[in-house]
């Protein structure tokens, strides 16, 4: 309930702090559940879906970035030159 106590009655910017932690898997399972329940509650009670949208958008952006990992590799000639240097 710690997270709920922190977030209750706080403005959007406080919830927003946890969006990245959630997207990057840095929250414990309990805190994760509390965070999701909290942002859902924000929507139901205040009609605010800012964090819900941010979570969706950041997840998409993160997945695109992860796809970039395989799209760029060291050029072969540079790799050969550096390996030669090491050896």
């Amino acid at each position: 309930m710690i997270l709920t106590n922190i977030l209750i009655n706080k403005k959007c910017k406080y919830c927003e702090c946890f969006v990245n932690d959630y997207v990057d898997g840095r929250l414990s399972r309990i805190k994760e559940e509390e965070f999701l329940a909290h942002i859902e509650n924000c929507f139901k009670v205040k009609g605010c879906k800012k964090c819900i949208e941010l979570v969706k958008q950041f997840k998409i952006i993160k997945s695109y970035c992860e796809n970039l990992r395989d799209s760029l590799t060291m050029p072969e000639d540079l790799s050969i030159n550096l390996l030669r240097m090491i050896r």
Partner: protein, 169 residues
């Protein structure tokens, strides 16, 4: 081959693409990226005896690379250029998602390359290189809280840039 050399070679083979990728997103230019990578591996090799075994080699070498990059950028005074790209992040951001379904890998790559350096580097290190906030904080020498806030602002800017592109197309 000595044990040290063999170990360094193993690390090189394992992390060369990661290092090159980060260099590319730092320099935004393949020629400069190659120079940066070369300088980085040469320096890392020279000081490999100082690397604490069983710690994170990727963080260690990326920290070396960042130091070299910063020194080089200062010489070229590129920092001024990057600051000119600062955007107003205090404005309200739209929250529609449709455009995110339409973007391509090259859109996201271009959008990252256009980010101001302070945000670009945390996005690269976190989302492309997959490093933990704590490792990023050590590499760029800022508190973990700063990494978190830069990542948040960086993603907001990225989202907005992608939306702008979608609106223009």
């Amino acid at each position: 081959m000595s044990e040290e050399k063999e170990l360094f070679e193993n690390y090189f083979i394992k992390y060369k693409d990661d290092v090159y990728r980060v260099a590319y997103y730092y320099t935004r230019n393949s020629d400069e990226a190659e120079d940066l990578v070369q300088d980085t591996f040469i320096r890392a090799y020279k000081f490999f005896s100082k690397f604490k075994k069983n710690t994170n080699f990727k963080s260690w070498i990326l920290k070396i690379m960042r130091n070299i990059y910063i020194t080089k950028s200062k010489k070229k005074s590129k920092e001024n250029n990057i600051k000119n790209h600062e955007v107003d992040i205090s404005k309200n951001y739209s929250l529609e998602n449709d455009y995110l379904d339409s973007i391509t890998i090259s859109d996201i790559r271009d959008a990252i390359l256009m980010l101001p350096r302070e945000f670009r580097e945390v996005i690269i290190l976190s989302d492309i290189s997959g490093l933990m906030y704590e490792d990023i904080a050590k590499i760029i020498k800022v508190p973990v809280g700063t990494v978190r806030s830069r990542l948040h602002r960086g993603r907001l800017i990225l989202k907005e840039r992608l939306k702008e592109k979608y609106d223009t197309d």
